[in-house]
């Protein structure tokens, strides 16, 4: 008899329980903490489903970076003056909202319950395609991401850049071009500086390792990039490095470098391999790693900029 099914059931109950608490929490901070815990538990679920790649992404991005983003957003919202309590919405509106919510939930549930058996899957096709084009990559996930659905992967990075542009464009006209406000005010404390000095070098090494090992084992550009981004945030929180001005040339080049390099190689594939976003068979692995290196750079630049927020108009900068 194995104990694993019981662990799985316990894990599932925990995830559902935490999800419920997160939604029901009246306090903003408690909800964010619940969300982070939910993400970490979800990472365990992915590990139990034999998807360590997804688990890494969930832990790094879904829980870690999003958690920081939500905490910062919550702090900024809390700093705003409380708006006057609005009048209660009328009962008909509440009912309408409830009915619509039930409809959406019902449609989603029906879609899952009415799946044909066996469910339609692109997995065999993707595996076959990844085998041919992602030759030399031991990790089929990376092969699928970078070769079978490379266009989607590039667009995902574009979405990140669009999000950064969106955040920046919320800043005041006067502040345009200046740096975002410091992540930690007014001054970093000694433990924070110590943590950054000790953790950042090791964390950067691990981030690069996760990217590099992604070719053959669980890992990859997004996971490695998220870790590097976290290290950059830690350094900026300890004020060991200043936040960059948003009109800095190097920052903008770093932001677009991932999708740009991806697109250049994709277009080159038309000539060298006979199709858009195809790679010559013998060079597939070095090309994929080369593109991924720039994607890591883009992600490392984009995620902290999302957290840092719009440029601030303080006169001292």
């Amino acid at each position: 008899m194995s104990i694993l099914p019981y662990i799985d059931i316990g894990l599932a109950l925990l995830v559902v329980g935490i999800a419920g608490t997160t939604i029901a929490a009246r306090d903003q901070f408690a909800a964010v903490v619940g969300y982070v815990a939910y993400g970490l538990l979800l990472a365990f679920v992915w590990i139990r489903l034999y998807a360590p790649d997804v688990a890494l992404t969930e832990a790094a991005v879904g829980s870690g970076v999003t958690g920081v983003l939500l905490i910062t957003a919550g702090k900024r919202l809390g700093a705003l003056k409380n708006p006057a309590p609005e009048a209660q919405p009328p009962l008909t509106l509440k009912l309408l909202i409830g009915v619509l919510a039930v409809l959406v939930a019902g449609a989603l549930g029906a879609a899952i319950l009415l799946l044909p058996d066996p469910p339609p899957s692109l997995a065999p096709e993707a595996a076959a395609a990844a085998d041919s084009a992602g030759a030399g990559l031991g990790n089929p996930i990376t092969a699928v991401l970078m070769s079978y659905r490379s266009f989607d992967t590039m667009l995902e990075k574009l979405v990140l850049i669009l999000a950064v542009v969106g955040v920046w464009s919320v800043g005041a006209d006067k502040a345009w071009g200046s740096a975002p406000a410091e992540l930690r005010q007014p001054k970093a404390t000694a433990p924070m500086v110590f943590l950054a000095q000790m953790l950042a070098p090791v964390g950067m090494l691990i981030g690069i390792h996760i990217f590099w090992t992604g070719a053959n084992a669980p890992g990859g550009a997004f996971q490695g990039g998220a870790l590097l981004a976290a290290m950059w945030m830690v350094i900026m929180m300890a004020q060991l490095a200043k936040l960059p001005r948003i009109d800095a040339q190097w920052l903008r080049v770093a932001l677009v470098s991932g999708p740009a390099v991806f697109l250049i190689f994709g277009l080159a594939g038309e000539v060298t391999a006979g199709s858009f976003f195809a790679y010559p068979h013998s060079l597939a692995k070095p090309i994929i790693l080369f593109i991924e290196a720039f994607m890591v750079l883009s992600i490392t630049a984009a995620l902290p900029m999302l957290v840092a927020g719009p440029p601030s108009e303080r006169p001292d900068r």
């Binding site: 404390t189 433990p191 924070m192 943590l195 000790m198 953790l199 090791v202």
Partner: protein, 95 residues
């Protein structure tokens, strides 16, 4: 020899699990944030250290054993630092 190593693993991991349990009880039962912090960091660092120690003889290779130690060291570093940060924030909010 194998039995001896197994006994060592089981003892260390059980002791680690006990410290996790004690830390959790402290986290739930202690009256104020500073004591809860004390329970959490002390018990968790020791608990994880014992679990890692118990897993060392079961590692496939020297490299994975090293990874276990690195994981423990990283948790040690971040737990100790964040405990300091939280403690400082508590003291400032009390003033």
């Amino acid at each position: 020899m194998i039995t001896l190593l197994n006994v060592f693993s089981i003892t260390a991991i059980s002791a680690g699990a006990f410290f996790f349990f004690a830390g959790t009880v402290g986290l739930l039962r202690f009256p104020d944030s500073l004591s809860r912090l004390h329970a959490l960091t002390k018990a968790d660092t020791l608990g994880l250290g014992l679990v890692a120690l118990g897993l060392l003889p079961r590692a496939d290779s020297a490299l994975s054993a090293l990874k276990l130690i690195v994981i423990w060291a990283l948790v040690l570093l971040s737990a100790a630092s964040t405990a300091q940060l939280i403690g400082r924030a508590l003291r400032q909010s009390r003033r």
